[in-house]
């Protein structure tokens, strides 16, 4: 069984290698090769899952040691895999949702001339993400982490002929590098503290290290998680990443990439549990981001960017839950899985809408699409109900638990976090209802595209609708399935641990409050967009709306503080180099040169002046000799 773990990573990696090196002779089958290998990976995951289920809850950990990677003296870094309940959950999500997205891409990318490369990159993405979640030590995790960064760069900039896509890819890569620095520093700190970075020793001996060190490691891990999971302050890349093809957005937002940060924090739970300050930082980042993303999501007219804001916000919920410690880890992962279903479904639905509307992304130019795209409408609608937390659907169970856990933090902090989570739920209901109404309801506001073609909305082909249907089913039932008898909790508890929260509000009260804010959010959106006609061009809006349209000025902030600051810094350094460093060197040269040209004048060619020097010298010598004698 253990040997299958390696194959799990190898299958999509093989796909990537074959597709990227295979050349033109694969042009007819490339999409099916990519999809097949993703499916193989999923099948292997399912086999391993069945195997784990057959074991006792405490013994559900498989390890597989492939080879010693860096053996230096007493130090060893291995290529070794570890499959426990946490990794298993991620493997199933990544390969399952990943396969569906591959299948969807078969239809979506059918006419793209670089399709072979696209599927190669998708497979590479899966392989890197699987490596990330299956690694048995932080160094190998880092390899997967960087692989994910690379694959996302390649995919976001897939339509590289568009300057905006190329820029977005670079931006994502650069912002991610900042987070990656955090991870590499955390790994170095782990090595100096524990002498190793294998999960086993680091996490079991975490409490042996001082709290200061653990806090430092925790903060660095948080920085890493912020980069990959698009949390404040490293969130700016996520909105621009929508430049990639829609299946890529679905993959980044649901199955891979942004979930990596949540995985990292949950996996390193032992470190965070022993470093309360780091945990406070984590919950703060989570709470701020969940509101930030939600507000941005409200103002965007681009359907994909609205969904991107939503992802940021939902990941904020997960980070918040993960920061709460054992009370929240399980729910963070549970929300991650249910979010994987409904967000992938929503993105695929958005892609389907764009597919039918000549790649129009402005929701103000949609309207009334429900009769033209019934399957998309129903699947998107179910995803919508799931994300806003409609009772009985997936999001309801997972988000409710997180809000409850946030209140359970206790004290003022608990009220603030719980309040933020509730407010986030209200805003989520608002902006998702807005997306829903603008896209599928109301009158038709279709506009001809730049070439003058009027859109003829139509349902997408089977390869695209089937994944959407499967994901919609998941969005409806996953949460319930996980929550009955606390199945998910019992499954994950041996790895992450679990503590019951001590909430000042009972579960019923929290649910009731969530329902109230949900209804408020939906009602507000309906009042604003459902009752009257929606203008095709966006009204100017108040200051907050304008700021939110510009991603709450995050790019302006980055530009002023980081770009401008960096420029000033480099300019200062250049100036210092010119004046101080070059000044010393050039000054010495000039001084020596000046002195020499002055001394050169002594050589005037007149024998008499040389004679004076000789006499003078001789006189000095004699005087000195006499003086010495006298002394």
């Amino acid at each position: 069984m253990e040997n299958l773990i390696g194959l799990l990573v190898a299958a999509p990696l093989l796909g990537a290698a074959v597709l990227l090196c295979g050349g033109r002779r694969l042009d007819r089958v490339d999409h099916w090769i990519g999809t097949l290998l993703a499916a193989v990976s999923f099948a292997l995951g399912a086999v391993l899952f069945a195997d784990l289920l057959g074991k006792d809850a405490g013994a559900r950990t498989l390890t597989s040691h492939l080879f010693s990677w860096v053996p230096v003296g007493g130090f060893r870094a291995d290529v070794a895999f570890r499959l426990d309940q946490l990794s298993m959950t991620f493997v199933l999500l990544i390969t399952g949702v990943g396969t569906l997205i591959h299948l969807y891409s078969v239809g979506y990318m059918e006419h793209d001339e670089r399709r072979r490369r696209f599927f190669g990159y998708l497979n590479l993405f899966l392989a890197a993400m699987l490596l990330l979640v299956l690694a048995d030590n932080y160094l190998l995790l880092y390899v997967g982490w960087e692989g994910v960064g690379l694959a996302s760069y390649l995919l976001i900039g897939f339509w590289q002929h568009k300057p905006s896509a190329a820029t977005a890819a670079k931006k994502a890569f650069l912002v991610n590098r900042v987070g990656d620095m955090g991870l590499s520093i955390a790994i170095m700190l782990m090595f100096t503290t524990f002498g190793t970075f294998a999960f086993g020793p680091v996490l079991t001996h975490a409490t042996d290290a001082g709290e200061g060190k653990l806090t430092a490691i925790g903060l660095m891990l948080l920085l890493a998680a912020c980069g990959k999971s698009a949390q404040v302050p490293l969130q700016s890349w996520l909105g621009d990443a929508m430049e990639g093809p829609t299946p890529v957005s679905a993959l980044i937002h649901a199955a891979t990439m942004v979930t990596a940060g949540v995985y990292l924090i949950t996996r390193s739970g032992a470190i965070f549990n022993a470093a309360p300050d780091a945990q406070t930082a984590v919950v703060t980042v989570g709470a701020v981001t969940l509101l930030f993303g939600a507000i941005v999501g409200c103002a965007k007219d681009d359907i994909k960017k609205a969904l991107a804001g939503s992802t940021m916000s939902q990941i904020g919920y997960m980070i918040l839950a993960a920061g709460l410690g054992p009370v929240g880890y399980v729910f963070a992962i549970m929300h991650l899985v249910t979010h994987g279903f409904f967000k992938a479904g929503l993105f695929l639905g958005a892609g389907s809408v764009m597919h039918g509307m000549n790649d129009e992304v402005d929701m103000r130019r949609y309207g009334g699409l429900r009769t033209y795209m019934p399957v998309t409408f129903v699947t998107f609608g179910l995803g919508y109900l799931a994300i806003i937390g409609f009772p009985g659907l997936s999001g309801f169970f997972s988000k409710d638990k997180i809000i409850e856990a946030a209140f359970a933090k206790g004290g003022t902090e608990g009220w603030i976090l719980g309040g933020a989570a509730l407010l986030g739920a209200a805003i989520t209901a608002y902006y998702m209802t807005r997306v829903m109404i603008l896209t599928f309801f109301g009158e038709k506001r279709w506009q001809p595209d730049a070439d003058g073609n009027r859109p003829h909305p139509h349902e997408s082909p089977r390869t695209m609708t089937i994944p959407m249907v499967v994901l919609a089913v998941g969005s409806v039932f996953a949460g319930g399935l996980f929550s009955i008898n606390d199945t998910f909790l019992k499954w994950l508890e041996p790895v992450t641990g679990h503590a019951e929260g001590n909430s000042p509000l009972s579960a019923i009260e929290v649910t009731a409050a969530t329902m109230v804010v949900l209804v408020l959010g939906v009602a507000l959106a309906w009042a604003q967009y459902g009752r009257g006609p929606v203008p095709v061009t966006a009204p100017r809006g108040n200051a907050l709306v304008r700021a939110a349209r510009r991603d709450l000025l995050q790019d302006d902030f980055n530009h002023v503080v980081l770009v401008r600051g960096g420029e000033e810094l480099t300019r200062g350094l250049v100036r210092a180099d010119h004046s101080v460093v070059d000044g010393i060197v050039n000054g010495t040269a000039a001084a020596v040169g000046g002195l020499s040209s002055r001394m050169r004048r002594l050589q005037n060619g007149y024998a008499r002046s040389y004679a004076v020097s000789m006499f003078g010298g001789a006189a000095v010598l004699i005087a000195a000799t006499l003086l010495m004698r006298a002394v």
Binding site: R600, Q603, N604, G605, A607, R608, A611, V612, F615
Partner: protein, 99 residues
């Protein structure tokens, strides 16, 4: 007569010679001044020989005369050769040996 007076005379002669070397421009005069300095030295050597009661100083005086004779030969040859090329016996005109 007190032999130290010869030393004074030698000092005076040497000074006149040195001043001539430094001040005069005519190569022949400079040359003669050099000879004057050499002879002032010889006078001092001989005086010291007398004062100390041994012959060392007188022997060195002979050496000096030999060296001076050799120097006269070479020096006059140089002066004549310079005069032939530049039609001038001024030491300041031969000032090309510089940077």
């Amino acid at each position: 007569m007190n032999p130290v007076n010869y030393l004074y005379l030698a000092a005076v002669l040497f000074t006149i010679g040195a001043a001539g070397v430094l001040i005069r421009r005519n190569a022949i005069v400079v040359f003669m001044c050099v000879e004057l300095m050499l002879n002032a030295c010889n006078l001092a050597f001989v005086t010291f020989s007398r004062l100390h009661g041994n012959l060392d100083g007188q022997i060195i005086a002979f050496f000096t005369m030999v060296v001076a004779a050799a120097e006269v030969v070479i020096g006059l040859a140089i002066i004549v050769s310079v005069f032939r090329t530049r039609h001038s016996a001024s030491v300041d005109d031969a000032s090309l040996l510089k940077l």
